[in-house]
C-alpha cells in the first residue's frame, strides 16, 4: 500500500523513446546478404548499361567545324573581322540515311557562357515585357544599360548583346542543283520560356514599344526585327534569342538551331551531298573559340552519349567482380583448410 504512495514525480517516462529502446533495424553487412545483393546490383547495372549503349549506338551525329582556322577552309576568308556580311559555303556528304527527326545545332567551344558576371548581365523584368524596365533597365545589365547617347539598350545586358548571329542555309545537292532543306525554327526553345518567362510588351505594333530605346551594340537589327520572315517570331520571344538566353553549362556547348522535320526530310536526311551556306558574323577567334554545326538525331535518353552506358557497365561489372572476390574470401574463411 505504501508503495503506491512513493513519491515518483521525478520518475522518468518509461517509453521506448526516452529509454532509447525504439525498435531498430540494424543493417548487417553479412556475406549472405551482401554477395547476392552485389550480384543483383551488378547484373541490373550491366543490363541498363547495355541498353544505354545500344541506344546510344543507334544515334547518328555529324559535326562540321566551320571556324575557318585552316587556310584551306572555305570560311577562312570570313575570319578577317574587317569583312562584313561574309558568306561561305561548306559541302559535305551523308553516306546513309540520317534518320529523322534530325536536330540541327550550332556549337561553340571555349566560350564561357557560364562566366559569372556574364550570366548575371540581363534584366529578367525587362525580358518579361515590363515597359518600366525598358526606360531604366536593371543595374545588373551593366555596362550594357545605355549607349553613348544615354539611351537605354533593350534588351540590355551582356548575354543579349553577345547573341549568336551566324545563320545557316542547308541545301541538298541533287544533280548539281540545290534543293533547300526546310528548317523548322518553331518550338526549339523551352515551352515555358516562350510562353511564360519571356513576354513582349502588349503594344502593337511591337516596334512602338521600343521607342526611345536602342538595340544592343553588337546587334545588326533591333529586337523587333530579329526575324523578318515571321513577324510573330520577334522581340523577346524570338526562338533563337530564347535559345541563346538559356546559358550553356559548360564552355563547349551546342545550341539547337533548327529541326528538320518537314517535307521530304521528315524521315531524315537521305544519303547524298549537301551544302551548308553560312552567313559568318560571329567572331570567335579572338578567344580561340571554335564554331561548328552539328546534325544529330535523338533517342529517349537525349543525344548521343556513350559515357553513361559505359559507366553502368563498368560499375555493374565491378559489383559482380567484387561479389566473386567476396565469395572466394568467404569460402576460404568459412571452410578453412585446417581445423
Amino acid at each position: 500500500m505504501v508503495k503506491e504512495e512513493l513519491s515518483t514525480e521525478n520518475r522518468p517516462d518509461n517509453t521506448a523513446f526516452t529509454q532509447q529502446r525504439l525498435p531498430a533495424w540494424q543493417p548487417i553487412l553479412s556475406a549472405g546478404i551482401i554477395i547476392p545483393g552485389f550480384v543483383l546490383i551488378g547484373l541490373a547495372f550491366i543490363g541498363i548499361g547495355v541498353a544505354l549503349l545500344v541506344t546510344s549506338q543507334s544515334i547518328q551525329v555529324m559535326e562540321i567545324d566551320y571556324t575557318g582556322v585552316d587556310q584551306g577552309s572555305p570560311c577562312f576568308k570570313c575570319t578577317d573581322s574587317t569583312v562584313s556580311n561574309c558568306k561561305c559555303e561548306i559541302e559535305f556528304t551523308i553516306d546513309k540515311l540520317f534518320e529523322g527527326p534530325v536536330f540541327f545545332y550550332y556549337g561553340l567551344s571555349n566560350y564561357f557562357q557560364n562566366y559569372r558576371k556574364y550570366g548575371a548581365s540581363k534584366d529578367a523584368s525587362q525580358l518579361s515585357g515590363d515597359l518600366d524596365y525598358f526606360t531604366s533597365p536593371a543595374t545588373e545589365c551593366d555596362p550594357y544599360i545605355k549607349d553613348n547617347n544615354d539611351k537605354p539598350i533593350v534588351p540590355c545586358g551582356s548575354i543579349a548583346n553577345s547573341m549568336f548571329n551566324d545563320s545557316f542555309v542547308l541545301s541538298r545537292l541533287i544533280n548539281g542543283a540545290k534543293e533547300v532543306v526546310p528548317l523548322d525554327g518553331k518550338g526549339i526553345s523551352w515551352w515555358t520560356d516562350y510562353n511564360v518567362k519571356y513576354r513582349n510588351p502588349s503594344i502593337t505594333p511591337l516596334k512602338n514599344a521600343f521607342n526611345g530605346t536602342v538595340k544592343p551594340i553588337n546587334w545588326p537589327r533591333p529586337a523587333y526585327e530579329l526575324d523578318t520572315s515571321d513577324p510573330a517570331n520577334n522581340g523577346f520571344i524570338n526562338q533563337d534569342f530564347l535559345v541563346w538566353m538559356r546559358r550553356a553549362a559548360l564552355p563547349n556547348f551546342r545550341k539547337l538551331y533548327r529541326r528538320i522535320t518537314e517535307g521530304n526530310y521528315a524521315d531524315g536526311l537521305p544519303a547524298g551531298d549537301y551544302s551548308l551556306e553560312i552567313t559568318y558574323n560571329y567572331p570567335v577567334l579572338s578567344f580561340d573559340g571554335r564554331k561548328k554545326v552539328v546534325f544529330s538525331n535523338v533517342s529517349w535518353m537525349g543525344g548521343k552519349n556513350e559515357f553513361l552506358g559505359i559507366a553502368y557497365l563498368v560499375i555493374g561489372s565491378l559489383c559482380v567482380i567484387m561479389s566473386i572476390v567476396m565469395l572466394i574470401v568467404y569460402a576460404k574463411f568459412k571452410f578453412p583448410d585446417e581445423d
Partner: protein
C-alpha cells in the same frame, strides 16, 4: 588556446547578462568604503539606507527594448556568427556579390533568430518566476501604522524590520533580533541553499538576548556595520553599535539567509541587512556551467583547418581566374563583361574581387549549422540521459541531473576517475558495529548478523527485479506484477527482518525529512554482555544515589561504561525532535538558564549543589543575574512587560509538559510512560557518525531525550532522566579532529569534559602513560582493537573524558571567555582555548562504525577498471580504513602488490619514491616485456597498488617530486590517497590532468570534494545525504555511485560516438558540397559561377540535409547498451578518441573530394556535348549530392529506427517540394538563375533518373561496401576464433558465449593493423597467431581491438 581562457570566455558570454546588473552595482560601491552601514527604517522622514539594493529581484537578461541589441551583441560574441554576418554583408558589395544579397542573409538570420527565440523563451520563464517571487508576502514593520503589515517581497528594503513566522521563507538576509524561542534561538532549514536537511540554529544578536518582552522596532536605535555583500554563505562579520556606544560583534550565527525556512520557532523579528541581488543566496546563484568538451576543442582545430582549406581553394581559384583573364590580353571575348565604368578590369584586380566572391560562394565549407546542430543534439542527449530509468533512484525519487549541458561527450572519453570514499563509494549511512570499553571488546555479533541480513535482502530483491526486467517487453506489465508479488511474499516471509530495500523505502518516506535515520541505522542490536553490564552499573548507581553514597565507589570498569555511554549520548550536536511535528523541537525544560557567561554567574550557579531537576526559583534567580549583568543592553529595551510574559511562558510550558515530565525525581512508572514515546523520537544530526552513536547508545537504553543550549537530558536505565548542565560545546573541526562538551555531571556534581575524536589525536592527548597500570592496559588494548577495527574497514572514534576541578575550570573559563569576546583573531583564540582544555584525557573506549559500501560498488569499480579507467580514491579517512574499503570494493586486489608511501620527511619520501619507481620498473620489465605497443599508451597496467597518506602526498605534490610521483602512480593499477585535505585532492586532480594530459573525472558527495570536482574535466556529484555543495559544483549529479557505470560506459560512449560521427559527417558533407562547386570553377574560367542554384546552395545545409543527421546524432547506437555494459572494454574506443582522430578529418576530406568528383563528373560526361543549360545541369547535381550525402549517412547509421526513415524521407520530400514550388513560383525572379520549370522538366527526363541511380552508388560503393564486407567476413571468423582463444585463456567464457550470441550486434572490427592487411590473408594469420601466444594482457588487448571498431576504414 588554453582551456581556462576559453572557459572563462564562455562563462563570460553566458553569465554576462545575468550578473551584469549585480556587477554594475558592485562597481559603484567599490568606490565607497568597505563596509555597509544599516540603520533602521523607522525614521519617518527619509530613508536611511538609500544606496542599497531593494529586495526586488530581476534575473532576466533583457527588457523589451534592450532585447534585440543585447541579444545580438551576445550572439556576436561567438566568432562563427561574426564570420557569417561578415560573409552576408560582403554580399552587399556589388563587385564581389555572389548571391542575391537578401538571400545570403537568410541562414545567418535564421540561426540568429533560432538562438534569439530560445533566449527569449528562457528569459520569459525567468521573468515569470521573478514576478512570482517578488510578489510573495511577508510582514514588514510599518512606522506609519506602528505595526507589522503585509507587504510584497519586492517592497522590502534594507533596514526594514521583518516579522517571521514558523515555516515562512526568508525574503532577504536578515539579522536576527528577537525570537519567540525561550533560548533566543531560531531554527532554520537551509535545504534550498545547500541542500542540507538538518536544522541549523541561529542566535539572536547578543545585545538582544535578554530582552524579555516583544521586540519593539521603535526602540531600536542601533547602527549595524557589516561587510559588503559577498557570496560566502559561511561568513558574516560586523558590529552592532548601540546608542550607548556599546559595540557587539555579529557573526554568521546571527544572520538568517534568504531562501531558508524558519522552523521550530513561532516568531522571529529581524532587520534586513542585505536585500534582493545582494543577498548571499542570490550572489551564489551562478546559473549553469559552461565548459568546452575535448571533442569540441578538437573540432575547433578542424574548423580552423576548414578555414585554411577555404583560403587555399579560394586563392587557387583567384589565381586561376587572374590567369584566365590574362590569357585574353587586350582581345575582349564577346562574353566578357566590362566593369561598370566600361573599362577593363586588370586580371589582378579581378582575381582579388573573385577571391572575396568565392569566400561567399564557398562559405558552406565552414559549417554554419554545425554549431547549432551540436547544441540541438546535446540538448537531446541531455534529455535522454535525464530520462534514463536506470539512472533513476526510486528510493530518493531523484534522477541524474546534467548541470553542464555541453560536455556530455566528455563522458565517453574519461581516463582517470578520482573518487571520494565516504558517501561516494560508501553509503554514508553509518552503522554502529562494535565498541570497546575500558579495554574490553564487545563484538556485537548479533548486530553484525543483522547487517548481513540487509545485504542479503538487497541482493534477493535485485535478483527478482532483474528477473522481471529481462522478460520480453510485451509481457513487461505482467512480469512486473509478478515480481511484485514475489517481493511481497518475501517480505512477509522475512517479516522479522526489518529492512529490505522496499521497507527502507517506506521508512524513508515516513521520515523523509530526517536525515540519517533509516531503520538500518537506527535499530541496533545490543551486545548482551555489554547490555547486562550497563544495566548492572546503572542499577548500582541508582542504589547509590538512593543511599546518598558517593559515586566514586563504583568500580572503575562500570563507571567507565556508564561514562562511555553518556559521552556517546551527549558529546554531539544532535537535536531531538518530536515525531508528530518533525520540525518542532521537543521542549522540556526543567530549568531555564542561559549558558555560563561570566565568572560571577559561574560561581553563583555552582555554589548550591543541585541534583537532577532544577526548580523555577533557581531559574528565575539565574535570570536575575543575567539581567543585571547585561544592564547596558536591557536599558535600551522596554522591560516592564518582560517579567510577565516570561512567567506566562513558563506556565505554558510546564502545563504543556506536565503529562510526560511530571515525575521529576524519576520513578519507574514514569520511565514506562516515557518509553512509549521514546521509540519515536527523532534525532537530527549534522553528521551520520553522530547519529549512529546516539542510536547505539539508545540501544543500551541510554537515550538522548532533549537538548537545549544549556542542558542535555539523558535517560538512563534505572536512573531515569538525568539533566546534564551543558557548560560548553567545543564543536568539531577538521584540524582538531575532535569535539568536546563540558558538562556538570548531575550525579557526581563534577565538571566533566567528554571528548570524542579520531583515534590518532585522542591517543596523543591522553594522560601520560605512567599514570596507572590500568590506564596503560586500557590504552594498549584499545589501540589493538582500533587496529582491528580499521582492518575491518570500520571508522573508529575514541571516547575520552576528563574531570576538572572547579579551580581548573574557572581558570580555563576565564581564558575562554576572553577568547569568545575577542574581536580580533577570535577563531584562533578559541582554537587555542580548546587545545588547553583537551589534554590529559582519560580513555574510556572506542567505537567502530561501519560505513557500508553502496550497492554495486565493487561491480562498478570492476567494470570501470575493465573499461580502462584508472581509479584513484582520495579520502580524508585514515589509511587502514581506506585500504580496507578499497579491498572491499575491489579497487585493490589481495593478489597484487601494494606500494605504501608513508614518509615523515621530504628526504625519506624521495628515497621511497625512487625505490618504488625501481620496483615498478622491474615489474614492468618482468610482466610485459613483450608488450612494446602498450608502452605508448598512457596506461601502464601492472598489478600494483599504491597507497599514500596525506603527509607524504604533500611531499609528493612538491614541484620537484611531482613527476617522479606521477611516474610511480602511473605504473600502478590503483592509487589510494588517504588523509588528504580538500586542497590536496584538487591538487592531485590538477596534477594528473595537466601533466598526463588525460581526461579526468572527479566524483564526490561532500563539501570537501568541491574543489576536486571543479578542477576535473568532468565533475560528478553524488546527491546523497551530505548536502548539496558537491552537486552544486558538479557537472552531473548522480543519486548513486553505481550509476556511474551506465553513465560512462553507455551514455558516455553513445554521446561521444554520436557526436564524433556527427561532426565528422558535417565536415564531410560541407566539404563534399563545396568541392562540387570547386570542380566547376575549372569549367567557368574560375569566375565564381555556380551551377547549383543559390537557393539550394543556401538551404542545402540548413534544411535539406539537416534533419537526418540530427536524428542519427541523437539516437544512433553503434553498440547496444547491454553489450556496452557487458563489455566495458569497448569504452577504450572513446578514451583513445578512436571515433575522431585528427587523421579522420583528412580522410573525410579526401572522401568528400572523391565523392564530389564522382558527383560532378558523372553528370559532366553524361551531359557533355549537349545543349544543356547551366541550371538544368546543376539541378541533377544537387539532387545527386543530396542522395549521396543521405546515403552516406545511411551507411553510417548503425541502428535504423522509424525516426531515421522518417527524417530521410522527409528530407528528400522537402527537397523536391521546395524545388518544385520554387521552380514554379516566379518566372522572372531569382536572378541570375531564373530556374523556372527546371525541376519539372528534369523529372520528365529519363537521364535524370539514370544519373540518380548510378552516381550515389559509384560514389559510395568503392569506399564502403567491399572493404567493409571483406573485413567483416574475415573478422567474423578471425574475431570469433580470437575471442575463443582468449576465452579459454581467461575466465571470460561468458564473454565468448555472449559474443557468439550477440555476434551480429557487436560489429566486430579489427584494429587498423589488421585492416591494412585484409587483402593479404597471411598477414592476418600471423597477427592473430601472435595474439594467441602473447601474454595474457596481450590476448586481452587483441580481443579488445577485435571489438573495437576500426575507424580507419570508414573515412567518415
Amino acid at each position: 588556446m588554453t582551456r581556462e581562457s576559453r572557459d572563462t570566455e564562455i562563462t563570460k558570454a553566458a553569465g554576462a547578462g545575468a550578473t551584469a546588473a549585480v556587477r554594475g552595482r558592485k562597481k559603484r560601491k567599490n568606490k565607497e568604503n568597505k563596509t555597509r552601514t544599516v540603520r533602521a527604517n523607522t525614521l519617518l522622514n527619509d530613508h536611511p539606507n538609500p544606496h542599497y539594493a531593494n529586495n526586488k529581484i530581476k534575473t532576466t537578461k533583457y527588457t523589451l527594448l534592450s532585447f534585440l541589441p543585447k541579444n545580438l551583441f551576445e550572439q556576436f560574441h561567438r566568432f562563427a556568427n561574426v564570420y557569417f554576418v561578415f560573409i552576408a554583408l560582403l554580399n552587399f558589395v556589388p563587385v564581389v556579390n555572389a548571391f542575391q544579397p537578401e538571400l545570403a542573409l537568410a541562414p545567418v538570420v535564421f540561426i540568429l533568430s533560432v538562438t534569439a527565440i530560445k533566449d527569449l523563451w528562457e528569459d520569459y520563464r525567468r521573468h515569470r518566476s521573478d514576478t512570482e517571487i517578488n510578489h510573495m508576502d511577508c510582514l514588514v514593520y510599518s512606522s506609519m501604522e506602528r505595526r507589522y503589515v503585509e507587504k510584497y517581497w519586492k517592497e522590502v528594503q534594507v533596514g526594514d524590520f521583518i516579522r517571521l513566522r514558523c515555516n515562512e521563507i526568508l525574503p532577504a538576509d536578515v539579522l536576527l533580533l528577537s525570537s519567540s524561542d525561550p533560548d533566543r534561538l531560531c531554527h532554520i532549514e537551509t535545504a534550498t541553499l545547500d541542500g542540507e536537511t538538518n536544522l541549523k540554529q541561529r542566535q539572536v544578536v547578543r545585545s538582544f538576548l535578554d530582552l524579555d518582552c516583544e521586540f519593539d522596532p521603535f526602540k531600536y536605535h542601533s547602527v549595524i556595520e557589516c561587510e559588503k555583500p559577498n557570496n560566502d554563505l559561511n561568513r558574516f562579520r560586523g558590529y552592532i553599535v548601540h546608542r550607548s556606544g556599546r559595540r557587539d560583534v555579529l557573526c554568521k550565527e546571527n544572520l538568517l539567509l534568504r531562501g531558508c525556512t524558519i522552523r521550530n520557532t513561532e516568531e522571529a523579528v529581524g532587520i534586513v541587512i542585505y536585500a534582493g541581488h545582494e543577498t548571499k543566496a542570490m550572489l551564489n546563484n551562478n546559473g549553469p556551467r559552461y565548459k568546452r568538451s575535448k571533442l569540441e576543442r578538437q573540432m575547433n582545430v578542424d574548423v580552423f583547418w576548414c578555414v585554411i582549406i577555404l583560403l587555399v581553394i579560394c586563392s587557387f581559384a583567384a589565381v586561376g581566374h587572374g590567369l584566365w583573364m590574362f590569357q585574353y590580353g587586350d582581345k575582349r571575348p564577346v562574353f566578357d563583361v566590362l566593369s561598370p565604368q566600361g573599362t577593363n578590369l586588370s586580371p589582378i584586380m579581378s582575381a582579388i574581387y573573385l577571391f572575396l566572391t568565392l569566400i561567399i560562394v564557398f562559405q558552406v565549407l565552414i559549417p554554419i549549422s554545425l554549431f547549432v546542430s551540436i547544441e540541438i543534439v546535446k540538448i537531446c542527449q541531455v534529455y535522454l540521459i535525464h530520462q534514463d530509468m536506470d539512472l533513476y533512484d526510486e528510493e530518493t525519487d531523484s534522477h541524474l541531473q546534467c548541470r553542464a549541458l555541453n560536455i556530455t561527450e566528455d563522458l565517453g572519453q574519461m581516463q582517470y576517475i578520482f573518487s571520494d570514499k565516504t558517501g561516494t563509494l560508501t553509503e554514508n549511512k553509518m552503522v554502529f558495529r562494535r565498541c570497546t570499553v575500558a579495554g574490553v571488546e564487545y563484538s556485537h555479533d548479533a548486530n553484525a548478523r543483522r547487517l548481513a541480513m540487509y545485504q542479503e535482502m538487497d541482493s534477493e530483491e535485485e535478483e527478482c527485479m532483474s528477473h522481471g526486467g529481462t522478460l520480453p517487453r510485451r509481457e513487461s506489465v505482467t512480469s512486473h506484477q509478478s515480481a511484485r508479488v514475489v517481493l511481497r511474499s518475501q517480505s512477509t516471509k522475512s517479516h522479522r527482518r526489518t529492512g529490505s530495500r522496499a521497507e527502507a523505502k517506506r521508512a524513508s518516506i515516513l521520515s523523509k525529512h530526517t536525515a540519517f535515520s533509516s531503520p538500518m541505522e537506527k535499530d541496533i542490536t545490543p551486545d548482551p554482555q555489554l547490555l547486562y553490564k550497563v544495566n548492572e552499573c546503572s542499577s548500582q548507581m541508582d542504589f547509590m544515589r538512593f543511599h546518598s553514597q558517593p559515586m566514586s565507589q563504583l568500580s572503575s570498569d562500570l563507571s567507565d561504561i556508564i561514562d562511555f555511554f553518556i559521552a556517546l549520548t551527549i558529546c554531539n550536536t544532535v537535536v531531538v525532535s518530536s515525531p508528530n511535528q518533525p520540525r518542532h523541537k521537543v521542549r522540556m525544560r526543567f530549568e531555564l538558564k542561559s549558558p555560563v557567561k561570566t565568572i560571577e554567574d559561574f560561581i553563583k550557579r555552582f555554589t548550591p549543589s543541585r541534583l537532577t531537576s532544577g526548580s523555577n526559583s533557581s531559574s528565575s534567580s539565574s535570570l536575575i543575574t543575567n539581567r543585571s549583568s547585561n544592564k547596558g543592553c536591557s536599558s535600551l529595551l522596554s522591560s516592564p512587560s518582560a517579567e510577565s510574559t516570561l512567567t506566562k511562558l513558563h506556565e505554558e510550558q510546564s502545563s504543556h509538559l506536565e503529562p510526560t515530565f511530571s515525575p521529576v525525581p524519576p520513578c519507574y512508572d514514569g520511565k514506562a510512560s516515557w518509553n512509549l514515546e521514546e521509540g519515536e523520537l527523532r534525532y537530527e544530526a549534522e553528521s551520520p557518525d553522530e547519529a549512529a552513536l546516539v542510536y547505539a547508545a539508545r540501544a543500551y537504553k541510554c537515550s538522548l531525550v532533549g537538548r537545549l543550549p544549556d542542558q542535555v537530558t539523558v535517560e538512563l536505565p534505572h536512573l531515569g532522566k538525568l539533566s546534564f548542565e551543558l557548560l560548553h560545546t567545543l564543536g568539531f573541526d577538521s584540524t582538531r579532529k575532535r569535539m568536546s562538551v563540558v558538562v556538570k555531571h548531575p550525579l557526581t556534581d563534577q565538571i566533566t569534559v567528554y571528548t570524542k575524536g579520531a583515534d590518532s589525536v585522542i591517543m596523543d592527548l591522553l594522560k601520560p602513560l605512567d599514570t596507572g597500570k590500568r590506564q596503560k592496559k586500557i590504552i594498549c588494548r584499545t589501540q589493538n582493537y582500533l587496529n582491528l577495527y580499521a582492518a575491518d574497514g570500520l571508522r573508529t572514534l575514541c571516547i575520552a573524558k576528563k574531570i576538572l576541578s572547579k579551580e581548573e575550570y574557572a581558570c580555563w573559563l576565564q581564558c575562554h571567555l576572553e577568547a569568545e569576546t575577542a574581536i580580533q583573531g577570535r577563531e584562533e583564540l578559541l582554537f587555542q582555548s580548546a587545545l588547553r582544555l583537551e589534554t590529559n584525557l582519560q580513555l574510556l573506549g572506542a567505537t567502530g562504525v561501519e560505513d557500508r559500501l553502496q550497492d554495486g560498488v565493487p561491480e562498478t569499480v570492476a567494470a570501470l577498471r575493465r573499461a580502462g579507467l584508472q581509479i584513484w580514491v582520495l579520502t580524508g579517512d585514515k589509511q587502514e580504513t581506506a585500504v580496507n574499503i578499497a579491498y572491499a570494493c575491489k579497487l585493490l586486489d589481495p593478489e597484487e602488490e601494494m606500494l605504501t608511501l608513508n614518509a615523515d620527511s621530504q628526504v625519506s619520501h624521495v628515497s621511497l619514491v625512487c625505490k618504488s619507481l625501481g620496483l615498478s620498473k622491474k615489474k614492468q620489465i618482468n610482466s610485459s616485456s613483450s608488450l612494446s605497443s602498450h608502452n605508448t599508451s598512457p596506461f601502464l597496467v601492472h598489478r600494483l597498488g599504491l597507497v599514500i597518506d596525506g603527509r607524504t602526498l604533500a611531499y609528493a605534490l612538491d614541484k620537484t617530486l611531482e613527476d617522479k610521483f606521477l611516474e610511480v602512480a602511473r605504473s600502478c593499477r590503483s592509487v589510494l590517497c588517504c588523509r588528504s585535505t580538500p586542497l590536496q585532492k584538487s591538487m592531485v586532480v590538477k596534477l594528473v590532468r595537466n601533466k598526463l594530459k588525460v581526461m579526468t573525472l572527479a566524483i564526490g558527495d561532500g563539501a570537501n570534494d568541491v574543489s576536486m570536482i571543479q578542477v576535473a574535466d568532468v565533475g560528478v556529484g553524488i546527491s546523497g545525504q551530505e548536502g548539496m555543495q558537491a552537486v552544486m559544483a558538479s557537472d552531473f549529479a548522480l543519486p548513486r555511485f553505481r550509476y556511474l557505470q551506465k553513465l560512462l560506459l553507455v551514455h558516455g560512449h553513445w554521446c561521444y560516438s554520436r557526436l564524433a560521427n556527427m561532426i565528422l559527417y558535417f565536415f564531410y558533407k560541407n566539404a563534399m558540397f563545396v568541392a562540387l562547386l570547386f570542380w566547376y570553377q575549372f569549367y567557368c574560367g574560375f569566375s565564381g559561377s555556380a551551377m547549383i542554384d543559390q537557393w539550394y546552395l543556401i538551404f542545402f545545409n540548413l534544411m535539406f540535409s539537416a534533419f537526418p543527421q540530427l536524428v542519427t546524432g541523437t539516437l544512433d547506437k553503434d553498440v547496444s547498451a547491454e553489450t556496452l555494459q557487458r563489455l566495458p572494454q569497448l569504452y577504450v574506443n572513446g578514451q583513445n578518441s578512436e571515433e575522431y582522430k585528427p587523421y579522420m578529418f583528412w580522410m573525410n576530406m579526401i572522401d568528400a573530394f572523391y565523392q564530389s568528383l564522382v558527383c560532378f563528373f558523372i553528370p559532366y560526361f553524361a551531359y557533355a556535348d549537349s545543349d544543356v543549360d547551366l541550371f538544368t545541369w546543376g539541378t541533377p547535381i544537387t539532387t545527386l549530392a543530396l542522395f549521396t550525402i543521405l546515403l552516406h549517412l545511411g551507411i553510417e547509421t548503425k541502428t535504423w529506427t522509424w525516426m531515421n526513415w522518417l527524417s530521410i524521407i522527409f528530407s528528400i520530400t522537402l527537397f523536391f517540394t521546395v524545388a518544385l514550388c520554387y521552380n514554379a513560383s516566379c518566372p522572372t525572379c531569382f536572378s541570375p538563375s531564373n530556374p523556372y520549370w527546371t525541376m519539372q522538366r528534369q523529372l520528365q527526363e529519363p537521364l535524370f533518373y539514370l544519373l540518380c541511380l548510378i552516381t550515389p552508388v559509384t560514389a559510395l560503393l568503392p569506399r564502403y561496401m567491399p572493404f567493409r564486407v571483406l573485413t567483416r567476413i574475415i573478422l567474423q571468423h578471425r574475431g570469433l576464433r580470437g575471442v575463443r582463444a582468449s576465452a579459454t585463456g581467461v575466465q571470460n567464457v561468458d564473454i565468448y558465449n555472449s559474443q557468439r550470441a550477440k555476434f551480429s550486434e557487436v560489429k566486430l572490427k579489427l584494429g587498423f593493423f589488421c585492416l591494412c592487411s585484409s587483402f593479404t590473408l597471411n598477414n592476418i594469420g600471423t597477427n592473430s597467431h601472435r595474439g594467441g601466444v602473447g601474454t595474457h594482457t596481450h590476448t586481452h588487448a587483441h580481443t579488445d581491438s577485435v571489438h573495437i571498431r576500426a575507424r580507419a576504414w570508414r573515412l567518415e
